[in-house]
Structure formats: structure tokens, C-alpha cells
């Protein structure tokens, strides 16, 4: 179980970081989502892996599943969900207004991509 969880977090983080380093906004957004999934699992694991245990300390069971990380994960999921929606809209707005979805801000001729309608259509 530990190996499964650890490798899942590791693989998702690696994929996320790889995608983050891409040039275009869409892969970067995917990368951020991957990383947030990884961190959500990581937060879960920070309360230790407990299976089939109640989330409160009962008199008949000597141990329990820590409920706090679950609350933290819930908050983190909600926030990252909202943030991803914001960044998707923002990236769409930036792409539609500048016809360019590169992340870098190197000053390119704003007219240049408009002369290649094929590329623009291909992305739709």
C-alpha cells in the first residue's frame, strides 16, 4: 500500500513537473492539475495510511484514521478546482485576444499569428 501510494504521488509529480516546463499554456495547466492531484494524495498520506479505521477515537479501537488531513484535502481540492477553472478561463482569454498561447512573454509581433489561420483553426 505504501509503495503504491508513494509511487502514484511520485509519478504524478514527475508528470506534472514535466508538463509545467512546456511552452504552451494548455500542457502547463494540465501539469498544474497533475501536481494538485499529487499533493492531494500526499496530504492524505500525511495523516498516515489507515485502513478500515473509524475517524474518531472510540473506546473499543485503540487507534483511528486521522480526520484532519481529510479536512485539509477537502479544502485543497475545492481551492485547486476553483483555481484551475480560473486559469483555464484566463488562458483562453489570453489566447483569444492575442492568438498566441505561449506562456513566455517574449514580445512577438501580435499580427504574426493572425496570418496563419490554419494554425489557429487547428487548435480549436
Amino acid at each position: 500500500m505504501e509503495y503504491l501510494l508513494a509511487s502514484a504521488i511520485g509519478v504524478m509529480s514527475a508528470a506534472g513537473i514535466y508538463l509545467l516546463l512546456r511552452m504552451r499554456t494548455f500542457p502547463v495547466i494540465l501539469g498544474i492539475s497533475m501536481l494538485t492531484y499529487a499533493v492531494n494524495l500526499f496530504l492524505f498520506a500525511s495523516g498516515r495510511i489507515a485502513i478500515n479505521l473509524p475517524p474518531v477515537l472510540l473506546n473499543e479501537t485503540p487507534t483511528y484514521a486521522d480526520p484532519l488531513p481529510q479536512a485539509l484535502v477537502l479544502t485543497a481540492i475545492v481551492i485547486s478546482f476553483g483555481m484551475t477553472a480560473v486559469v483555464v478561463l484566463l488562458a483562453l482569454g489570453a489566447f483569444l485576444s492575442s492568438r498566441n498561447d505561449e506562456v513566455s512573454l517574449t514580445p512577438t509581433d501580435p499580427q504574426a499569428p493572425a496570418t496563419e489561420p490554419a494554425a489557429g483553426e487547428g487548435r480549436k
Binding site: I32, T36, A45, N59, V86, G93, S97
Partner: protein, 525 residues
Amino acid sequence: MNHWIIAPILLPSLVAAVIILTARYQIELQRVMSLAATFALLGITTGLLVYSASGVIDVYELGNWPAPFGIVLVLDRLSAIMVTLTALLATVVLLYAIGTGWDRRGHHFHALFQFQLMGIIGAFLTGDAFNLFVFFEVLLIASYGLMIHGGGASRLRAGVQYVMYNLLGSTLFLFALGTIYGATGTLNMADLALRVAELPAEDTAMIRVAAVLLLLVFALKAALIPLHFWLPATYAEAPAPIAALFAVMTKIGAYAIIRVYTLVFGPEVEATAGIVGPWLMPAAIVTLAIGMLGVLGARQFGRLAAFSAIGSMGTLLIAIALFTPQATSAALYYLIHSTLAGAALFLIVDMVRARRMGEDDIIAPRPVIAQNGLIASLYFATAIAVAGMPPLSGFVGKLLVLDATRGHDQAWLIWGAILIMSLVAIVGFARAGSLIFWKVEEPDTRLAAQQTAPAALPFVATGGLIATIVVMTVFAGPVTAFLDATSAQIFDTQAYISAVLETPRAIEAQSLPLDYPSTPKEPQQ
């Protein structure tokens, strides 16, 4: 329990909601509500500052849950200063935004502005690490909206970059918090301070990783090299009043570093000793150098202001990285000064932009702008303050920082960096000022025809910032005395911990009979 502590968080959040629900299309009503709320905020925070001056550390237990089980808000001198600074800056920025009509250029300016204030003030007041994350997100999501206020392709693209950087920062923050929770089983800062100090020496690898991760997050917010890449484009492209408000956003990173790395991972904590200061210092020196060289090399006025913000963060973090009471006091003085001066600079950039044809801000001769003399003198005063020349508070601040670093092993390096980079900044500001205000071309008749009587409010706002800087200079003695008391309080971590963990309710909770099984296993690892 003093209920006024939560008022600076509740007030903006309620007003923001009311603005959205009742005054969505009435900009005048929005302005009245937003201004009234911000003035009320300034009044409340000033009251809290006076209250905290007695040295009391007051704890507000949300939902009556005592720490470490519930989330607490903590008001001490440091957070009172930061909150008051935020309210002061917000008042000025709001006056400027209303005076120039920036708030009309898009929707929901005032609602987002109030949410932004809620997030910033919450981040300063909270005493819980996860709650700090939540308030960071509140202020960030409002700042995303404000950053792209007014729209435009280049602003949107800079906004995308800004959002992505900060999402990455938030993810790192969560990784750090998960690691901290895994290692200690708590996220309340006072409780963390106790548990980190008690960790056995062989069991500190996790907490050291967490300390460094957390430093990365705060360094990203504070625009420390090499995590500063988001700042120049964001600040230069953001609407000017928002860039001025963002002057306090980088300071949140600085505040968090002061708070966490004195209280939780303090200099005397064995587990994390020597992993923060030695890294922070060289990075801060490079930040200072890059910032001031950026001032010298900037082609646009907005970029110049952004790079000067990076440079001032460098000086500030040099003082913070020493982690001594004297240096922290100097850092706080410089923090207040650089927030006000940096904000004034952004407002002046906007004044120049608004008066030029095509609203460009390239540092090159252009037709003379309206009110050239007045804006030039405001710029002159602000540049003196930012560069740290006498007689304004920048000079006092730098002097305090230099004085605090005297005993350090690398004092010669720090002194050299600060003094040489001050010179570079002076040259950069002088070059920009003479190109923009002196070496002007003949007045453009087309521009003159468009001129209307200038609004007084923007000048009042900018003048107000400069007046505050002058006040800080004139009353440098009482201000530094107060800041000395503040930094003494910051380093007296025992007082903070006992104030948070030994409230009447917490003591009552500890004495409650627990119906545990007779021989429980360790409930938490």
C-alpha cells in the same frame, strides 16, 4: 477575547458581498460603500495598533475552539503593524483608483478589492499554518481578478503567467504543510513551535525538508531570486493602483518569513538551525543587485518601478536573514517605508502613462505632459525615498539595516552590496527622470486639445503616500522605538506560545476528563 480582532477580516468580506449583490451596476454606490468600508477598516486597524502597543498578545478563538484544536487569530504588535499598513495603503490606492476612473474600466473592481483586503489582512492575523494557506488563496484569487482588470492582450498574458506561478506556489505550500503535519501532527503555529523544538535529533529530516519547502513558498511571494520571474511582468502590466496595492503583497512573503522562521523554525531551534539564514542572505544580496540593475536597465517606466520593488525586497530580506532583534527591527522599518514608497512610484508611473499619447511608458523623450512640473517633483521625492538618499525614510531605513549588519561575518559584502546598489539605483532613477520629465519635446497640440482639468484625487493620494513617508522620517525616533518593542516581542516566542495555548478556554479543555481506554496505543504517530 476581543471581538475587534476579527472585524478587519469580516468587514471587507461582508462589504464585498453586499457590493456584488446590491450595487452591481451602480458604480457610484460601489465607490461610496468601498470607500466607507476602507476608512472604517483604517479606523479599526489603527485602534488595534494602539491596543497592541501595550504589548498584549491577544488571541481570538474561532468558534470558541481553543488552540491547537481550533483555528486562532493572533493580534500582536507585528500583525497589528502589518494590518494597519495594509489599510493605509488600501485607502490611498482606492482614492487613486476612484480619482482616475480605473475602477470603471472593468467589472467588480470594488468587490474584488475588498476581497483582496480580506485575504491580506487574514494572512497577517492568522495563527494557523493551514489557515495562512487559505488566506493566501483568498488574496490570490482576488488578485487574479484585479490583475487583469481592464483587460487587454498583454495584460491577460502576463496574468496567465502570474496565476501559473502562484498556483505552483500554492502546490508547494500544500506539500510543505503535509510534510509538517506528517512530522509533527499539528498546524497551529504556537503548537508547532513547541513540537518542533521537542523533536528528537535523529527524527528531524522531514521537518528540515518542510522548513525549506516553506521558505521556497514565502520566497516566491517575496520575489526572492531565483523565484522572482513573475514579478516584473505582473507589476508592469497590472493596473497601476493594483500594482501599488501589490506593494504589500510581496511584504506578505517577508512577514511570513519573519513569523515562521522566528517562532517555529527559530534561530535557536536545533533541528533547523543554520538552514535558512545562510541561504537567505546570498539570495537576498543577489535580489538586491538584480533589482537595482533592472532599475538602471529598464526601458519602460513600469518595469523600472517593478524592478525597484525587487531591489527593495532584497534590502529587506538581507535584514530579515540575520534573524536578530536589532536587524528585524530595521527590517520592519524598511518594510513599512518600501511599501509606501514603492506604491507611490507605481501611482506616478500611472500618472505619466495617462498623460501620454497612446498611454505608453517608454523611458524616452516625449511631448511634454500636462502637470509636468508637479508630477516630476512627486517623482523626485519618491525616487529619493526608494533609492535611500537623505533626507527621506529610505535613508533612515538603510542606515538601520547597515547598522544591524555590523557584527556579521560578511558585513563588508552586505555593506558593499547595499551601498553600490544604492548608487546604481540613484543613477537609474536620475536617468529615467531626466528622460521623462526634462528632456521633453515640444507640447503636442493634439494632446493639449484633449486635456481637461486634472482630477485632484490622484494627487491627493500620491501626496498622501509621500506625506506618510515624511512623517515616518520626522518621527523616526518613536517609530523605531515601537519597532524595537515589536521585534523584542517577536523574539520572545515563549510569550506568544503561552498566549495562544494558555487561554482560559484552552486550560479548561486540558482539564476535561477524557474517557480513553485504559491502555491506549499512541493515537497519533
